[in-house]
Every structure is written in C-alpha cells, then in structure tokens.
Symmetry: C2
Subunit: 163 residues, 2 copies
C-alpha cells in the first residue's frame, strides 16, 4: 500500500482509551495480587485454570493454551509454582512426552485466599462501573479483536475468500 491510513481523532480516542485502560488496570491488578498473594496475575491464572480442571490437573500444553501463554513461559511459571509447593508435575501415563501439572492442596488454599480480593478488585475497577449494556458491548468488542488477531496478519482487503 502506498500511503498509510492514520487514525482519525475518534479512532485515536478509542485506541488510547483502550490502551491506557489496560495499562493502568493491569498494573493495579498485578500490584494487588503481588501484595495479597505474592504472585503476578499470570501465575494466578495458572492456578485458576488448574482449579477449574478435572482432578485439578492439566497437561502442560493444554494449560499453555488456556492461559494463552507460550510453552516456555508456562514451563518457567510452573517451575516457580512448584518450588513453592502450589503445583506438582507428574509424567503423562500414556504419552511419554507429556507432563501433567496438578494443583496441590496448598495451591488451592492460596487460591481460595486470594480469589476474593482479586474479584473485588476486578469489580471495583471494571464490572461495577459498567452497565449491563456496556458489558455486553465489551464482550462483543473483545471477541472481535480476539478473532481478528487469531486470524493473523492476513490482509482483510486481500480478497481471497477461499484461502
């Protein structure tokens, strides 16, 4: 493409509001969790996903997919969580490559103690400030963005309905 289509004033307003809201919000969330549970938000999510799973266990690759993190990142994260005794890793029974991460009782206890404060914070900063309509809008917008990113960098103007 020859020339760049810069953002209009309204588009900039939306983009910057989105950008800034995420920055201040996730900073605040991270600090809250760091203070109250001594772990970053990403680690908290690992525990949440494990707690929701059957047997409180998930294969590393599934856990990585659920938490939207790279395998490397998850590997490091679980290593840390294991050091603290909140998670254990065991071999997969039938697939020799697999590893299963399991939430321990200690991990579950930490999660239980941290969850209320976390939900309160999310409510205070986000949920309780928005109307039901706005929440619906936010869900729709978020899902649109996710879909577009997952579709990848393929050019939408490039009319290739088949490929």
């Amino acid at each position: 493409m020859a020339t760049t289509r810069w953002l209009t004033a309204e588009q900039q307003r939306a983009w910057r509001a989105y950008l800034e809201s995420t920055k201040v919000l996730f900073d605040a969330l991270d600090r809250q969790l760091q203070r109250e549970a001594d772990m970053p938000h990403a680690y908290f999510e690992v525990l949440v996903r494990l707690s929701e799973a059957e047997q409180r266990s998930l294969r590393m690759s599934e856990l990585a997919d659920l938490t939207l993190s790279s395998r490397s990142r998850l590997s490091h994260a679980v290593a840390r969580l294991e050091e603290r005794g909140w998670v254990v890793r065991t071999k997969h029974e039938t697939d020799g490559r697999g590893q299963i991460a399991t939430l321990t009782d200690a991990g579950f206890a930490v999660l239980e103690s941290a969850a209320p404060g976390h939900v309160d914070t999310v409510r205070r900063y986000v949920i309780d400030g928005l109307s039901d309509e706005q929440l619906e809008q936010l869900a729709a917008i978020g899902e649109t963005i996710i879909a577009r990113v997952e579709r990848g960098p393929a050019d939408p103007e490039c009319l290739d309905p088949g490929a």
Copy 2:
C-alpha cells in the same frame, strides 16, 4: 464484607473477552514492533511521545506520566534508547534535578519507518473490525476504567461524597 460477590456468567464473559483480547493483541503488537523496529511497544511509545512534544523534548517526569510508566522503568528505557542513539539526555537548565530527554534525528527516522507498520497492525486487529459506534463504546468504557483505577482502591459503596 462477609461474602464475595462472584461474577455472573455475563460478567465473566465480558471480563474474559477483555482480558484475552488484550493478551493476544499486545502479544501481537509487541512481536510486530520487535520484528520491524527491534523494540518493545513500551519503548515505541516513548519515542512517539517525544516526537509529539515541543522541540521533541520532555522532562523525564513528564515523559513518565505521559507513558504511564514508573520513573524507574522510564529511566531504564531511556538508557537503552540512548545507547542506540535514538534519544539523548541533557540537564535541565534551571532545575538542577531535572533531566531532559530529546529525540534524535536517528530516533525520529526509526519512528517514521516503524509507524506505518504499527498503525496498519492496530487497524487490522482493532479499528477496522469495529463500527464507529463500537469505537465510541470502547472509548467510553476505557475512560470509565481509567477513572475508576485512578480513583484508587477507595470503596465505591462507602458513601463519602465529600472526601
């Protein structure tokens, strides 16, 4: 408060969509900028803010406020950018404590070359997928979140209209 108010299904949907959209989006943006401009998004924003300022210069503290980063983070970031010759730091003329960061010509050139790709990416993943109405909604939602976070952890149910 005695019991935690957990999120309803609709609230969860909105929250997770927001959460996931930011994760996949900023991962993609960071990768794009890392690839095309060899710097993370946070550093890019520093250059953007400097380029928009008078004389392409800002005091460190102002720059930190504009980019919503801690002083420490900005200090490290500018140190890196200075190593590459994209920014220089000079003493503040009247306030002996102050430092002024200035975008160099080389830094401006890098910014000019990286900006189109960045805007394209933002358009592709966000702007062009949303209607004008949705952009307006997103701006309003983002601004609400920002306002609530900046107000801090003060309890909204605590009726203290004066304080």
